[in-house]
């Protein structure tokens, strides 16, 4: 019996290790193919935002939002500078630009400056020790899951088991690849979305909201 269990474990381990063989390039390609990533690029490099954002700014993960009064839905994304402390140490500074876009074109792409924010220097902008493969694997799966759960959030649809699994996976991937110091900023991009996530049994741990 024990032998049988071991062989099954070995078989599963083999399957998983074969799955893990995909390199970071594969996951980058997969990420770049997502509709969300392409829409994000359209915003970043489009005429409405490119003059706002210096080359060196990093981009956050997009968060869905909806305006209940007008029924408008879309995504918000943050752009933040990388501050240099020394030759060997970089850190992220608080976001300076907020970009808004939608997948269906219902909202015109635009960017707003967030310079009125209190200046904050963020020291952690990715999970420490994460490998290149884990990072891009997590990010591409996160974008794919986000594409699945955003319409559910927009339509207030009731979730079945499959959808709940997507929500759970989204939160796990978000915790893995997002910038921990930006969690309060993520929360304030769309509190309603995070409340919806909470209603579905998941939550975003971390420091209390900054603003």
């Amino acid at each position: 019996m024990r032998k049988h269990n071991n062989s099954r474990f070995f078989f599963l381990a083999l399957i998983f290790s074969l799955g893990a063989c995909k390199n970071s390039g594969y996951w980058m390609d997969r990420l770049d193919k997502t509709q969300l990533s392409q829409a994000e690029n359209k915003l970043r490099f489009g005429s409405s935002c490119s003059h706002f954002i210096p080359e060196e700014f990093a981009r956050s993960i997009p968060i869905p939002f909806k305006i209940k009064k007008t029924g408008e839905t879309g995504f918000k994304v943050l752009f933040y500078p990388i501050a240099t402390e020394s030759k060997s140490l970089s850190m992220a500074a608080s976001p300076l630009v907020e970009g808004i876009f939608s997948l269906d074109g219902s909202i015109a792409d635009h960017c707003v400056s967030t310079t009125d924010q209190k200046e904050t220097v963020l020291r952690r902008f990715a999970s420490s020790g994460i490998s290149m493969v884990s990072y891009y694997r997590g990010k591409s799966l996160l974008y794919e899951d986000l594409e699945k759960i955003a319409p559910l959030y927009f339509s207030d649809a009731s979730l079945n088991d499959g959808n709940l699994k997507n929500v759970q996976a989204f939160v796990q991937e978000f915790k893995l690849v997002s910038e921990p110091d930006l969690w309060p900023n993520y929360y304030h991009l769309s509190p309603d979305f995070w409340n919806w996530i909470k209603q579905n049994g998941q939550s975003l741990p971390g420091p209390p909201p900054l603003r």
């Binding site: 970071s24 390039g25 980058m28 390609d29 770049d32 392409q38 690029n41 359209k42 970043r44 490099f45 489009g46 490119s50 003059h51 954002i53 210096p54 080359e55 060196e56 700014f57 990093a58 981009r59 500078p81 990388i82 501050a83 240099t84 402390e85 020394s86 030759k87 060997s88 970089s90 850190m91 992220a92 500074a93 200046e119 904050t120 220097v121 902008f125 990715a126 420490s128 994460i130 490998s131 290149m132 990072y135 891009y136 690849v177």
Partner: protein
């Protein structure tokens, strides 16, 4: 002269300036600064005892002490700690007490010079000493701890090279960081951020040397050890490449007679070189063709020829693993050249000489610096950054909470090149995947015709580091093209973000990083 902590440190001061010149330059003191610290602390205590005894005898000795008048603190930025009496007689004050005052008091020079009498000034200095002495003893204690925990002798002998190099690099960083923290009460002036726009260019002020010297010396030792380790790896790779190349040379000249099967087995017995070459599978037949039909000599491979060229290219700047990968890539390229499988377009070797390490977010500015240098223009990284800042192409903000943010706006791409007399064509970032192949063709054309181009990439993808987000600009200095079908196999880049020069990036990896910044491209040529 009394053997005080301060004059010991001053004596060690490399570039003798101001008050340091007053102190005798005893180089033997360099040998064991720690024990001298201890001795100096003892002498400080001894001095205090003598001073106390003298103070009690002061009324009786007053007639014996010559009165030189009030002390004047003659402050200048070059020599901040020069004290003298009104009659010109120098007054020997502890240099660390002086730096302590400068670092911790508001406008100490005016405060000191405003005091009415010599006695009140001496009392003021005594009061400051009572605060700086405990700070100094804390420094001595911390210095001992920092130096002992960051000693290369702590690394076990059987540690693998990669781990050893990583530890050495970490120790080097830590010793400077912790040393700076320990020296904080005596560091004046405050360090500026790493920017071309500031007076000191982000470098340490010379006034830091007395306190930072032992940490800096340890950093140098650790750095040297790391360099030795890197050189060893480089030499090993060089040896392998040379032996392979001589074998190939033998095949070329017909001195070595090898059947196709044995060539294949020879190729297989050199893992990581022959097998993984760009066209590895076809190697035996190509070798046969090469051996039989070789007529003309082939262009040289772009691998570095000397130790200094290896150092210039910064193989290990992104760590041991990445360094070894680069060495392997270059070995493959040398082999590929010798076998006539591919050739280099452009001159990455020559352009590697212009590599610098950027400061702040000046990648776009410094990529243009390299371009202008390659056209023989007399420009400096600092000068160009200042010019870009003044013209509004580059913005830099110092955060109140520390650190520096800087960047170049996309719509200012290539502006400096234009201002310096080059023809410039900018292809702005685009989200359209369809534009990829057209822009790729433009890049190849630019490299072939003008010897290079500037491109925007996603830093993390290029550096293989998920912790480095954001856009980045690099100088493409050449490309590797297959002789078989004319396909581009990869690009050579100079990257001011990592200080790496002539780094070969396989086309697939390059395209992924380039795609991350919307295939941003700046093409240039000289005006006719």
């Amino acid at each position: 002269m009394l053997l005080t902590a301060n004059n010991i440190i001053a004596a060690n001061f490399e570039s003798c300036q101001g008050v340091c010149c007053v102190v005798s330059q005893d180089r033997t003191l360099d040998k064991n600064r720690l024990s001298l610290y201890t001795k100096s602390m003892r002498s400080l205590t001894k001095r205090k005892f003598i001073a106390g005894a003298l103070l009690s005898l002061l009324p009786y000795l007053a007639f014996a002490i010559p009165d030189h008048g009030k002390i004047l603190w003659k402050f200048s930025e070059k020599s901040p700690c020069v004290f003298s009496h009104k009659d010109g007689t120098p007054y020997d004050n502890d240099i660390l007490v002086c730096y302590y005052m400068l670092a911790n008091l508001k406008d100490p020079v005016a405060q000191f010079n405003r005091l009415p009498t010599e006695a009140s000034q001496k009392e003021f200095l005594r009061m400051i000493s009572s605060k700086s002495d405990p700070a100094f003893s804390r420094l001595v204690k911390k210095e001992r701890q920092i130096l002992s925990s960051n000693d290369f002798k702590n690394i076990p002998r059987d540690t693998p090279s990669g781990v050893r190099l990583h530890i050495l690099m970490m120790m080097g960083q830590r010793v400077l960081k912790d040393g700076k923290k320990a020296c904080k009460p005596f560091l004046w002036p405050k360090a500026e951020d790493d920017s071309y726009l500031y007076k000191t260019n982000g470098d340490w002020p010379k006034t830091w040397l007395p306190c930072m010297r032992p940490f800096y010396a340890r950093w140098r030792v650790l750095n040297q050890k790391a360099q030795e380790l890197q050189s060893k790896e480089v030499a090993r790779t060089q040896k392998k490449v040379q032996s392979l190349l001589s074998k190939i040379q033998g095949l070329k000249t017909g001195k070595v007679s090898i059947a196709e099967d044995s060539v294949h087995s020879w190729a297989l017995s050199n893992p990581g070189q022959a097998i993984e070459s760009p066209n590895g599978k076809e190697m035996p037949s190509l070798l046969r063709h090469f051996v039989l039909d070789q007529k003309s000599s082939l262009p040289p491979a772009p691998h570095p020829l000397s130790e200094s060229e290896y150092r210039q290219r910064g193989y290990f700047n992104r760590g041991y693993a990445e360094g070894m990968k680069r060495l392997k890539d270059d070995a493959l390229l040398s082999l590929s050249h010798s076998l006539g499988l591919s050739h280099t377009v452009g001159n990455p070797q020559e352009k590697a000489k212009n590599i610098i390490y950027q400061k702040g977010g000046t990648c776009a500015v410094e990529a243009q610096y390299e371009v202008l240098k390659s056209y023989g223009q007399k420009v400096t990284p600092k000068g160009l950054a200042e010019e870009a800042f003044k013209k509004g192409y580059y913005a830099e903000v110092q955060l109140k909470s520390g650190g520096l943010i800087g960047g170049t706006f996309s719509d200012k791409d290539g502006k400096l090149l234009k201002d310096h007399g080059l023809n410039v064509q900018v292809f702005s970032p685009t989200e359209k995947p369809a534009a990829a192949s057209a822009l790729s063709a433009e890049l190849d054309k630019a490299v072939a015709k003008n010897g290079g181009a500037v491109v925007g990439v996603e830093a993390g993808r290029l550096w293989n580091d998920p912790n480095s987000s954001g856009g980045h600009q690099i100088f493409v200095t050449g490309e590797e093209v297959s002789n078989k079908d004319g396909q581009v196999l990869g690009y050579y880049i100079n990257d001011t973000g990592t200080g790496e020069a002539a780094r070969f990036v396989p086309k697939k990896d390059f395209d992924r990083a380039w795609r991350g910044m919307g295939y941003e491209l700046v093409v240039f040529n000289e005006k006719t």
